[in-house]
Amino acid sequence: MSVIFILLGASLLIAIGFLIAFLWSVKTNQFEDDYTPSVRMLFDNDVKQTTQEPKSEN
């Protein structure tokens, strides 16, 4: 039965991983605007454009 302990730990770890991913996504304002990014990804980037990572404000 000791295999259960390992499985338990593994499943909790995975779940915590997702929880952290969720918290990070909320923190970086990914829930703020659920429309614009869907349009933005369709634009072609031309070569000259310098892409900047969107940072969280404040």
Binding site: V26, R40, P54, N58
Partner: protein, 806 residues
């Protein structure tokens, strides 16, 4: 009106019709120089993808923006308020651009750095119609960016309100965190409880069982202390105010469940009910989120500060023009107001030709002309040339803004007690009496299980089903209503709408279309002389009909008029040269009255012979007659108009003679208040600032607007003008909330009876609680969302029929 489509060309930039084809670049035709300029700007920096993403994505540039319009942005204090982040190198600022409407706009606005290389980054939030810009403040400034945006057709909107400290909060992050964390804990607790469920409490391995229990306990801590925090706060507040709201019994249930579970786990006597508890908290948090979902783009709490401009031009003693923020405006300042600008304070006209459009403030449809020395009230929009005015009252003391000092605006938002709280009161009472009876019974029978029975009762009979049914019904209804262009500020408003018995309408802009009256002529062909005659005579009259006719006729030289006479309610009479002319109602002209036309007629008689008549029609909203005949069955209808009584007869029919004209904003407010004194529950339907007081005073204030992103006064509901034809159905739908909630109440009571029957016997096992809780919650959720969607069938059917027609 008819446009010959064969010769039609549309502007490459904005898609408007072009009158001629003189303005063009290569084969691209523009309607005006402005549009061409925008194209040239974009072409120079190779941003013409703008035009390939959508056809004619631009905005018409016919209205020119004054050069120094944004001079007020040079003010340091103002800048500091607008810029929300600044270091030695860069600044962050958000602009509100109401013109944003398509993907081309997003593309262009996110490529602003090509137009101004000091702009580091620009990012669009389309739903909020905002662009946040990061720029190097050494190379450029706020004014230059505002002017750049204006030059490409996106004039940023600034209002007094946008610099106030209260920033609009569109969504609450902590609420999302709570749902996420509670959901995580809930699902893991559930998973760890599965062995317990399947073995029905008889697990062989004691160590494993204990480990699982302690893990559950650990996972439940965030649920109890973080997820359930709001319920405890709300319950505590309500108890302090000696009022029992729905959160009080819920908080009690959570507290008891948690306490008993902790006791059982630590003492090793059982597994506790942590799965049920975290499940309840999770469902309730979701329900609240669902119900309180706000609309990104809409603002329901606007006051006059949203309408007023941020800056004004003042003329100082040395007659030098200077821009100052409107908040610094003082009595005695000489100000300059340009065309299409709003007058920020009550003023005396000093110089210029004032033609003030008060339609938004007072509901009057036609612009009012004012002479030098006359007082011009704040809120009107100048439609002629520039004016010079002297301020006589502070911005906050002006005639218009005084309305906001009325007590209606300071009264508490809580309009009446929601019946969910009432229901929870009875629920708690019954619950406590059951618990008391059970404890007395077991005291005599078997004192050992008193505590177990009583706590089980409180655990299983949690009123969360009540809360869930309300939150999920409301949440889903908000979504359905939104689909039909009916945006409700808060879920409680739906319940309020269900209680309404009187509806008061405003006229201009509410039941009429914003673009007002149309005028047609019927009768004999008229020559130039006749037109000249009529025009000269109508010029003398102040009657709105005469004014309309006057404006309808082509300009010509005025003739000399003799014996001019205006007969009230009938018409006008005059002699011009050798001609006797009469213009007026059918009665005045001795003409048989025909009631076939809608609108008002003015007949023209020259030298005793009838020439013809003018028909002045106000364009009412589509489906008006049907709407009112439906609404009359349910509600008492009234009309309060700030306008004249031109259309009285037609409106009398619609409103059973409950029509009132020439109502000032204050009159409207008072009228609503007097209706409420007679124990009516009043809904006010309006559109402009002139209704602001009435909207606030009423139980439910509805604003009709043809563009929901327009500025609308503070209200409870914003309704799209196109949805007016569903208005009766929308109200009917809101009335049905009660049916849905009552049905789910009954279901939840059935579940409670099942659970309680176990609990009073002291036999409530965690498994039963764990099954009953999610099953009842899920049924309630499915039932309420299902029913509220189903009840929308009438709306759906009607809208489909309408879509087919168009």
């Amino acid at each position: 009106m008819n446009v010959d489509t064969s010769t039609l060309t549309i502007c490459y930039h904005c898609g408007d019709n072009c009158d001629n084809q003189t303005i063009h670049i290569e084969k691209k035709i523009f309607c005006c120089q402005g549009c061409k300029t925008v194209y040239e700007i974009l072409n120079k920096v190779e941003l013409c993808d703008y035009y390939s993403l959508n056809d004619n994505p631009g905005l018409t540039q016919k209205a020119n923006v004054r050069l120094d319009k944004f001079a007020f942005l040079d003010d340091e204090n103002l800048q500091a308020k607008l810029i929300h982040f600044k270091d030695e190198y860069q600044s962050h600022i958000n602009f509100y651009l109401p013109q944003m409407h398509c993907s081309s706009c997003i593309w262009l606005l996110e490529n602003l750095h090509k137009l101004n290389n000091k702009i580091i980054r620009s990012q669009v939030n389309f739903l909020k119609k905002e662009v946040s810009i990061v720029f190097e403040h050494n190379g450029t400034n706020v004014r230059k960016i505002a002017e750049l945006l204006t030059s490409i057709g996106y004039e940023p909107h600034f209002s007094l309100n946008s610099i106030s400290d209260e920033k609009l909060k569109t969504y609450d992050k902590s609420r999302i965190y709570k749902i996420g964390i509670t959901g995580f804990c809930f699902s893991n607790i559930m998973m760890l409880s599965f062995p317990e469920y399947f073995s029905l409490g008889n697990m062989d391995e004691k160590d494993l069982k204990q480990l699982f229990s302690y893990l559950c306990l650990g996972l439940s801590l965030p649920v109890f202390f973080y997820g359930g925090f709001d319920f405890f706060i709300s319950a505590w507040k309500s108890i302090k105010q000696k009022f029992l709201n729905i959160d009080a019994p819920i908080a009690l249930a959570i507290l008891i469940t948690f306490a008993r579970s902790v006791y059982e786990i630590i003492s090793g006597t059982g597994n506790g009910y942590l799965d049920s508890m975290s499940g309840i908290v999770f469902f309730m948090l979701i329900g609240r989120f669902f119900q309180n979902k706000t609309y990104n783009t809409l603002t329901f709490n606007r006051d006059y500060t949203s309408y007023f401009p941020l800056g004004v031009t003042i003329i100082n003693e040395d007659s030098i023009e200077q821009q100052i923020p409107v908040s610094d405006l003082k009595v005695g300042h000489r100000i300059k107001v340009h065309s299409e600008e709003i007058i920020p304070a009550d003023c005396i006209l000093f110089f210029g030709k004032a033609k003030i459009d008060y339609s938004f403030v007072s509901g009057e449809a036609l612009p009012i002309e004012k002479g030098i020395g006359e007082i011009i009230y704040a809120g009107g929009k100048q439609t002629g040339g520039s004016l010079e005015l002297e301020v006589v009252k502070d911005v906050s003391q002006s005639y218009l803004t005084q309305l906001w000092n009325n007590e209606a605006f300071s009264k508490n938002e809580e309009k009446s007690e929601s019946y969910i709280h009432l229901a929870s009161k009875y629920f708690s009472l019954i619950l406590f009496s059951i618990a008391a009876i059970t404890s007395i019974y077991w005291q005599f029978k078997n004192p050992a299980i008193v505590w177990s029975a009583v706590t089980s009762i409180l655990i299983v009979a949690c009123p969360c089903a009540l809360l869930l049914s309300v939150t999920f019904t409301n949440g889903n209804m908000l979504r359905v209503l939104q689909k039909f262009g009916f945006y409700v500020r808060h879920a409680d408003v739906i319940e309020q709408i269900g209680k309404i018995n009187t509806i008061v309408f405003d006229k201009t802009g509410t039941i009429t279309q914003q673009q007002n009256s149309s005028i047609t002529y019927e009768g004999k062909q008229m020559d130039y002389e006749t037109m000249q005659l009529i025009r000269s005579v109508t010029k003398q009259s102040q009657h709105p009909l005469s004014k309309s006719i006057f404006r309808f006729l082509p300009p010509c030289n005025d003739l000399i008029i003799k014996n001019f006479e205006e007969l009230k309610g009938l018409g006008i009479r005059a002699t011009v040269g050798s001609n006797a002319i009469q213009i007026g109602s059918a009665k005045f002209i001795d003409y048989p009255i025909i009631n076939s036309t809608t609108g008002s007629s003015a007949f023209v008689k020259i030298n005793g012979g009838l020439v013809g008549r003018y028909i002045i029609k106000t364009t009412y909203r589509e489906g008006l007659d049907k709407q009112f005949s439906e609404l009359k069955k349910q509600y008492d209808l009234r009309l309060l108009s700030g306008d004249n009584d031109l259309e009285k007869e037609r409106l009398n029919d619609l409103f059973n003679s409950n029509v009132f004209f020439d109502q000032s904003p204050q009159d409207k407010l008072n009228h609503i208040a007097s209706l409420q004194k007679q124990h009516n529950r009043v809904m006010m339907v309006g559109d402009g600032l002139n209704d602001a007081g009435a909207l606030k005073q009423s139980d439910v204030g509805v604003v009709i607007t043809d563009d929901i992103n327009n500025f609308s006064p503070a209200c409870d509901v914003i309704m799209n003008g196109k949805s007016f034809m569903y208005f009766d159905l929308l109200l009917e739908y809101c009335r049905k909330t009660k049916i849905i909630i009552n049905t789910s109440f009954v279901i939840s009571i059935l579940y409670n009876i099942v659970g309680l029957s176990y609990a009073v016997q002291g036999k409530l096992q965690p498994v039963i609680a764990a099954i009953l809780m999610p099953v009842s919650s899920v049924t309630i959720v499915l039932l309420t969302t299902g029913m509220s969607s189903l009840l929308a069938y009438k709306l759906n059917r009607y809208s489909r029929i309408h879509e087919k027609k168009t």
